[in-house]
Symmetry: C2
Subunit: 212 residues, 2 copies
DNA sequence: CAACAGAACTTGACATTGTTTAGATTCTAG
DNA sequence: CTAGAATCTAAACAATGTCAAGTTCTGTTG
């Protein structure tokens, strides 16, 4: 998307034009090729055709670059969840859609997903942390849907936070398993979606207001 | 435990005695201090009082060392789950215990837990992978309990694999959230256990055989 | 018991990495 | 047009993963 735009700005020039985004694009690409853990800042710079020190004019250090990617990924996730939600009208159906969308986002944005949940990227205690708020925003989509489903008496009136955590846990857990477990080497997008659906439906069963 | 034994074998000698275990101990310790991602092989060697090249006589490379830690951690998890299970007799109660034990294991063995789920540690497709079997063993505890609960007609007769994945997802997801999310900086063991209990109970609600 | 084979280490080296410092180049206000 | 800020390069540093070549120990065999 923005990658083609950002990366190819006047190759010969001294000033790159939009190096910050070019670096982000290169990092995303590199991480999806060789893994989030062994990607190097120097190679990112190399791919953007700049010197190894150039990134330091746009990011404090390597950690700061990956943090920017994580924030960006969280905001993508937020819109993905929000889009999925608004495909349905009933809060209960929305709950299901949001859950499935979470897993599919992880499946489709593998590399970015791995950037998102890393304790070491967070700011120090007390500092304002944009990464933290990005995460909270994503979670808010689920949280609101739970509240709406409760208001519509479609699910039990238990402490909403407990319900949010349960649902978030189950979709996040499935995502991690799909991405990291060796069991899942052969998983296709279709079977991932089926698993997501079945897991989400089973979880929702436990919080339904009317037991048939 | 074994650390004190393994680490302190005749400090002056050329041959360490049990360097392999000493390295594993040092790596575990170091990882829990500075994180799984930035721990270095050289520092591990330093702590075991050997040269930087010494580890290569016991492990193929850094990855191989961490793989050994992951396998070891999986086997610890297996016994933790198994112990938790056998505290109760009813399969349904066992299911709950196993779920809670999973989360508590993650909480108490933070560093080791982070070693366990990393795709890059797996062997190549087709090769026999001890890490994979270690993971399967741990999952088997949950799997068996689900089967037993189904046989006892305590939970629905749905495809057992779906139920296993749902339960595994929810406890794994909660574990990841507790460990990686910035939201959880202040979580105590007690509140972790409470969350685990509530999340597991809600999930089990969805698969109960008798809906009152 | 002696000598030898192999295992367990060390030394020293290499390419690569993250990061810093100093300097060069280009852009942009005034 | 020009000063100063923004953006980049070049060169260097310590540290890392890893390897090849030696060194020292240990157990086995004659």
């Amino acid at each position: 998307m923005s990658s083609s735009v950002a990366t190819q700005t006047k190759p010969g020039r001294y000033h790159h034009g939009d190096l910050r985004n070019a670096l982000l694009d290169a990092a995303r690409e590199l991480a999806s090729e060789i893994g989030v853990d062994n990607f190097t800042l120097r190679e990112v710079a190399r791919r953007a055709n700049v010197s190894p020190a150039a990134p330091y004019h746009h990011f404090a250090d390597k950690r700061d670059l990956t943090r920017a990617l994580a924030i960006e990924a969280f905001s993508k996730l937020t819109t993905a969840l929000s889009n999925a939600k608004h495909k349905k009208h009933s809060p209960l159906e929305q709950l299901e859609q949001v859950g499935i969308a979470y897993v599919m986002f992880a499946f489709e944005h593998l590399a970015e997903f791995r950037f998102m949940f890393r304790r070491e990227l967070c700011a120090e205690e007390g500092d304002f942390d944009p990464l933290e708020t990005a995460g909270i925003n994503a979670q808010a989509v689920l949280h609101n849907t739970v509240l709406e489903a409760q208001n519509a008496k479609q699910i039990i009136a238990e402490n909403p936070q407990d319900i949010v955590i349960t649902l978030w846990s189950v979709v996040h857990g499935l995502s991690c398993i799909l991405l990291e477990s060796p069991l899942s080497k052969t998983t296709t997008a279709k079977s991932a979606k089926n698993m997501a659906k079945s897991v989400v439906q089973l979880s929702i069963q436990g919080i339904l207001a009317h037991r048939e």
